[in-house]
Symmetry: C2
Subunit: 148 residues, 2 copies
């Protein structure tokens, strides 16, 4: 659904250079996990990633590697994690402009949205509290159009 401003190849190349510069090592697992995140739908669980990478690219990745890699990607700030309330972490690429989520409590559909007023107000609130804002998550729960 969502397209990014940067092509996958460019993104991957940049990322691999970045990894090298920091003294970490690249691997085909990292490459294909990233490729999968780039081209698949958002909001994948670790299990999803294992399944999809195998199905789409025929690459075997262990679930432990996925968890470790996602933690690594989060620290690199190229991935965000998301909890839709079912006790399972989901991951999405952090390449697009910041957006938030509306989650339907009936069908679990996820609607993404971005609102500039909310964004700027958050920055203001953080400043008022002498808080050094790094990231934020906003989730609206309710019923989507179909489920009302």
């Amino acid at each position: 659904m969502k397209k990014y401003d940067i092509s996958f190849d460019t993104f991957l190349k940049n990322f691999k250079e970045h990894v090298s510069k920091l003294g970490f090592k690249n691997s085909i697992q990292k490459d294909y996990i990233l490729k999968n995140l780039y081209y698949s739908e958002d909001h994948l669980t670790a299990e999803d990633i294992v399944t999809y990478v195998k199905r789409e690219y025929n690459i075997d990745v262990g679930i432990a590697t996925v968890y470790r890699t996602m933690k690594f990607f989060e620290e690199m700030s190229i991935v965000n994690s998301l909890d839709i309330g079912d006790g399972t972490k989901r991951y999405e690429l952090n390449l697009s402009l910041h957006h938030d989520h509306m989650i339907c409590t009936a069908c679990h559909k996820i609607i993404e949205f971005a609102d500039e007023i909310i964004e700027s107000q958050q920055i203001l609130v953080a400043k008022e509290n002498n808080f050094d804002l790094k990231n934020h998550v906003m989730t609206i729960y309710g019923l989507c159009e179909n489920c009302q």
Copy 2:
């Protein structure tokens, strides 16, 4: 820290009547879990609740009962749950006005805040998307004053 507009005794009395009317049964476990939520700090884990109820009131409550009770309270809309990103659910009484959280990623301190502009903008965004808003969660991550 936070005081509610309603006394615990009044709140408990109302709640017990409500439970009866719906055909459920009251119990001292429910009473003391509620009492603990009312008087303790916010953002307790299930484990915290077991520990505190024992310590403060010398009442034994099983962890399974806490989970079941919190689910029940959430369905009654008197409790909210909160995920601060460490994989453990935390609970707080839903008696006060809506507020959101800023969480320090270094010391895990939680700062509560309420912002009317953000609140009203959320309602607007939901409306624009034909989404029937029931609840929402907003969390800002970053560094608190002390940890910067």
